[in-house]
Amino acid sequence: MTKDIKFDFSRRGLLKAGAGAGLVAATPSIFMKNAWAEEFRNNPGNASEIKLGFNVPQTGPYSEEGKDELRAFKLAVKHLNGEGDGGMLNTFKPSALKGNGVLGKKVTYATGDTQTKSDAARASAKRLIEKEQVLMISGGSSSGVAVAVQSLCQEEGVVFMAGLTHSNDTTGKDKRRYGFRHFFNAYMSGRALGPVLEKEYGKERRAYHLTADYTWGWTQEESIKNTTEELGWDTVATVRTPVGAGDFSQYITPVLNSGADVLILNHYGKDMINSLSQAVQFGLREKQANGKNFEIVVPLFSRLMAQGAGDAIKGILGTTNWNWSLQDEGSQAFVKSFGAEYGAPPSMAAHTCYVQTLLYANACEMAGTFYPPEVIKSLEGFEFDGMGNGPTLYRAEDHQCFKDVLVVRGNENPTSQFDLLKVVEQTPRAQVEYDWKIFGGELGPYKV
């Protein structure tokens, strides 16, 4: 072989190399020039479309909720663009939405998979922000993910409309200026559940907690423990279980001989389906302890989980953010258009995501701009009605929504495959309100 390619450093070669190196060195500034031209992240400018990012779990233990969230997002985008029957756009007031997109721009969307993991969720949110150039990120079905993505959004200057996240931390110690939560939290669940538990199970009970080992589980355990101890209950033990464990038998067996007579499952999604089904299989519900019937409580309930757990769910108490059986105008309109589109009623995860998308769009209309600090200001302290749960306030101090909370029970005699939860009590907003200072944390700056 004779045609050896050899690089020798002639003067010409050196010049070429120099030019190449110069180009390489200049690349960052070429890209940064773009960055300086815009006054905020992903400014749509004169484009005729805006893009929203829906970052939901499509795999992992919370994927059922994620898929339903995605359906709701698609429906919300449709309604915002004036397609379909308009859903809650007709009942939401005060509303600045016109059904012609947002600020005259058509709404499009991009999706990402959080995999119910903080790492993956942040990577996918980064892709949405950097590649898809979305104006807002919404979705998520785990508080760990919500907290992680929320802090990323604060750094990047993109509004985050949290999906299903129930931990006190999301709007408590980990709250952020760019993050907003419509969903209720563990503290409110405790407040709402307390009186019902007292009425049903009395003042002398011994509770055993099984808790998902992450931010949501920790805060829910704490809130429920505080509530029940106020009632006079004892807490026998609190045991942490890994998320996505699959088999909970090793955690349930010790419950049998612990002297407890109530099992509180701080689990969600497939974890809750598995732990509850196994607890029922182990005969916990037929058991007598301390002369009382053994009871199971699932503080955070959803219809999708009830569907997965089947008969095990019957008669079990819990709380939920929203249920499709609500009779108010807004809920009815939403259930109707969701049902017409997908042939099944929406879950509470779907409801909160749909509402969040509308609220963001409305805030942009009210602010008259997509500039995040202004959008944030119009969301802070915003009061609205007609989105289910009655009159609702987005509290300015911690970006938490306040509305009525539903205490539900697994339906003993369901009339249809979706009629799984029966509303026991609609706890009024005043009863679940609290001082925002109790959880600490700081919102941070408007401008980043």
């Binding site: 072989m1 050896d4 390619i5 690089f7 190399a17 190449g20 180009l23 390489v24 690349t27 960052p28 890209f31 940064m32 960055a35 499509q58 795999t59 991009a110 999706t111 990402g112 998979d113 993991k117 903080s118 790492d119 993956a120 942040r122 990577a123 980064k126 892709r127 950097e130 590649k131 508080s143 760990g144 907290v147 992680a148 802090s151 990323l152 604060q154 750094e155 980990d174 200026r177 080992d213 992450y214 931010t215 942490r240 890994p242 998320v243 700081e442 941070g444 700056p445 980043v448």
Partner: protein, 381 residues
């Protein structure tokens, strides 16, 4: 092939140019955004380091993600306790990963072959479970270790007043997210490539290759192979620690998932896909997998319909659902198929594929020159 004829300096320069120009040539491939580019560089480092162990000595570690995770945690703690500067974070990441590698290596290297792999896997799973539940005060468990307003940041607070928001990672004032972060990672990658090249060419590297081809014979000559193996293992672990700390530098969060066995398996895939024992192969494999993970997984039926819009409508309705199985959340399926094809037909990975292609062209030039050498004998890189 022509590439094989280049000397090391030139090959290194070409490599550096390709890496640094990535933001430009990735544009048509849709991958020219900082997050993905950072991942390319970081996982490139991870794979290159893994290859020093697996490629040179033939010891297959199934627990390298543990070092990646430790690197991340160490870096985030450095951000929390000392300063937001990237340099100390990297130093801590590498040190702690090296330390852990020394301990795990010291114990695991008593065995060879499959037993070694199982031991490393077991240690990595132990580290994962420790990070996930037992060590929650240090790792914050499932939620992941994050920065907070209340962190002491001793060194930073001596010089500047804390701002209203969370501080961001920096290199003496240069923000480490976006393209600046990528260039920082890219420089690290080039540095790592250079070191790895020097190791491959050194007597130490030759010794490691000797161990790979016949460890018994090496021992008969009166050589104690253990220190060599341990050194290779620790170096490889430090590479992983560097990659882990860079992950934290570009995005200051460390989650336990980084240590899971799937992450360890991923780096094995990367290395095999690219070409075991070659210099550039693992880097290629890492790039390919990360590209698939980020670009392919984001495809949905909507994008597919756009891509196939040139077909008649009836055909689109058939093609889109079928192709849809392989993209989006089904990207693992595509990756799996690709992996099977490569392992069966190109045991030397992408690098072997490229040299075969080059060989084809060359044969056309010189019909009756030397017969093709068997793939194993080819200098892959």
């Amino acid at each position: 092939m022509t590439l094989a004829k280049l000397n090391d300096t030139n090959r290194f320069l070409i490599f550096a140019a390709i890496i640094l120009l990535m933001p430009i040539w990735m544009i048509p491939l849709g991958g020219a955004y900082p997050d993905l580019l950072q991942k390319f560089a970081i996982y490139g480092i991870f794979a290159i380091g893994f290859n020093i162990l697996f490629g040179l000595t033939g010891y297959l570690s199934f627990g390298h993600a543990a070092f990646l995770g430790v690197g991340s945690y160490a870096a985030v703690w450095s951000f929390k306790l000392f300063t937001m500067n990237a340099i100390p974070a990297i130093i801590f990441g590498v040190l702690f990963a090296g330390l852990l590698a020394f301990i795990i290596g010291f114990l695991s290297l008593r065995r060879t072959g499959i037993y070694f792999s199982i031991l490393t896997l077991a240690f990595a799973q132990m580290s994962y479970n420790l990070a996930y539940s037992v060590l929650t005060p240090i790792t914050n468990g499932e939620t992941g270790l994050q920065l907070s307003q209340q962190d002491p940041r001793i060194i930073d607070s001596m010089f500047v007043e804390a701002g209203a928001g969370l501080p961001s990672t920096n290199l003496f004032g240069l923000k480490m997210s976006g393209f600046e972060g990528f260039y920082f990672c890219a420089v690290m990658l080039i540095l790592c490539y250079y070191i790895s090249m020097r190791i491959f060419r050194s007597p130490f590297g030759l010794m490691l290759r000797g161990i790979k081809s016949n460890q018994n014979r090496m021992m008969y000559t009166g050589l104690n192979t253990r220190p060599y193996m341990l050194t290779a293992f620790v170096i490889s672990g430090m590479y992983a620690g560097l990659a882990g700390s860079l992950l934290a530098v570009t995005d200051p969060l460390a989650g336990a998932e980084r240590m899971q066995w799937t992450a360890s398996g991923e780096v094995v895939l990367m290395t095999i896909l690219g070409g075991v024992g070659t210099l550039a192969g693992p880097m290629l494999g890492a790039g390919l997998i990360k590209y698939f993970e980020n670009i392919f997984s984001a495809f949905n039926n909507q994008t597919l319909t756009e891509i196939f819009s040139f077909l008649p409508d009836a055909a689109v309705e058939v093609v889109v659902p079928i192709v849809g199985l392989f993209v989006g959340s089904g990207w693992h399926l595509t990756l799996g198929l690709l992996f099977v094809v490569i392992v069966i037909f190109l045991p030397g990975g992408i690098v072997e594929g490229m040299s075969r292609l080059a060989g084809l062209f060359r044969r056309k030039d010189q019909e009756n020159m030397n017969g093709t050498a068997s793939p194993q004998d080819q200098p892959g890189e």
